[in-house]
Assembly symmetry: C2
Homo-oligomer: 261 residues x 2
């Protein structure tokens, strides 16, 4: 338990970077992308695959360089995706050393970790940068409320997804969603009352997606034969363990801003 | 040999669709995307993976629906990529039936086959739709000239990439590039003389990329334990065997138009 408090303390500098936004947010996103890809590839290595760390780091670097160079240009992001796939395939031209899975793992790590987390930066650069907080509120309040709702009421409700994550219950899932709605309502009411209804919609859709993010990480870790992605944050596992929900909620919030607001 | 002529005859309707362009080009791209993904997934099945055909077809359909609905919107293409990854990961939530590789194969098939070939349609919708012909000229003249140059001079030159494709020689590679440059020069001189220099640059860069596309297909097929992706076109294998170079050249030509021209 003491470890978890120390871990939470390590999160504080990150929150300061989010608060400052702009270049600080870009730096935070880049760091999370690089560390996240490193941890995710580590899981694949545990499966016997050899993803290309060089291609992974290079791709994340290129994504953020593009953002600094021509922010808001999505056509070049499509070109970036093509280059990611092309260089990953080139990597298996050493056909005696590499499997097709090595290229596939390289590509999936870049897109799932690097590109998904990148949307936090895009939200920061959008017309509603305060919604970066909403991403974190939806993701973390879902985690916390699901934990306590499951603890209090879980014994009497069926399991959510027993093969994937044996301890999760429907009570936790519903409690997590209600908790996210309440926290997002408080956030919206005090910080952006004119967008309150959108905060509620995002919490209602985003909390289940946060839980899908959590379960996705469980599915990957189960297949990789690991318990945690890393041990960077004492008591919280690695960056990928802590941000498994954020990864999925960030694109939702970003595209909601882009296409609905 | 007779088979190859029949095969070439089957290509004719496709050329008519390319000539007509617009909706006909969209239909051709969509058909190639669907058949290509089906063939590519078939190779993965041969490796013991179970990619989701439903997610693959659905993703290609969505990509073309987006094109019809809001052409030129690349932000929504980024949202499409997020959804592709998300649904592919959901697919492995049936953790006892599916491997992580099943999700990865699903994603890579959609991006490498569906998204790459989609760029032919984007070129057709660009300010230089005549460059769709240039894609085909670079890809196919590289194939043909490499074949004959290798046949004539290959015995005296070192192998290009013996582990990957034992018959290919440097003579073929150089001959293919020279052939592509000559054919593109003829095309440019007669059909778009003001863009002649760009045709030459694209042939010079695009012909090696066409050969990388060819070798990529060889690498995948080697790993999949298959000789051809399919047998749709008599004597030519499947769509993916015929379009392995086009897949790589199309994005190059498209982004050249977008960022250079």
């Amino acid at each position: 338990m003491k470890e978890r408090f120390i871990g939470a303390g390590i999160m504080l500098p990150l929150l300061i970077l989010v608060y400052l936004g702009g270049y600080f947010m870009i730096a935070a996103g880049f760091a999370i992308g690089i560390i996240g890809v490193k941890e995710f590839y580590g899981g694949f290595v545990n499966m016997g695959f050899k993803p290309s760390y060089a291609v992974g780091y290079g791709a994340i670097f290129a994504l953020y360089a593009i953002n600094l160079w021509m922010p808001g240009n999505y056509q070049i992001v499509c070109a970036w995706l093509v280059l990611v796939v092309l260089t990953s395939i080139l990597y298996i031209f050493k056909i005696d050393e590499h499997k097709a899975e090595d290229a596939m793992a390289t590509i999936v790590g870049i897109v799932y970790v690097g590109f998904f987390t990148y949307h936090v930066v895009l939200v920061d650069q959008s017309a509603h940068r305060e919604f970066v907080w909403l991403i974190l509120i939806i993701a973390f309040s879902t985690d916390i409320f699901a934990y306590f709702a499951g603890l209090a009421l879980g014994k009497h409700t069926p399991k959510l997804c027993p093969n994937l994550s044996p301890k999760k219950t429907w009570a936790g899932a519903v409690g997590g969603t209600l908790g996210a709605i309440i926290c997002s309502a408080v956030f919206g009411y005090f910080l952006c009352p004119d967008l309150l209804v959108h905060c509620l919609i995002l919490a209602l859709v985003g909390s289940p997606i946060a839980q899908i993010g959590d379960l996705s990480a469980s599915a990957f870790k189960r297949k990789m034969g690991i318990k945690d992605y890393g041990n960077l944050i004492p008591g919280h596992g690695g960056v990928m363990d802590r941000f498994d929900s954020v990864i999925m909620v960030a694109p939702l919030v970003y595209y909601y801003i882009a296409f609905v607001l």
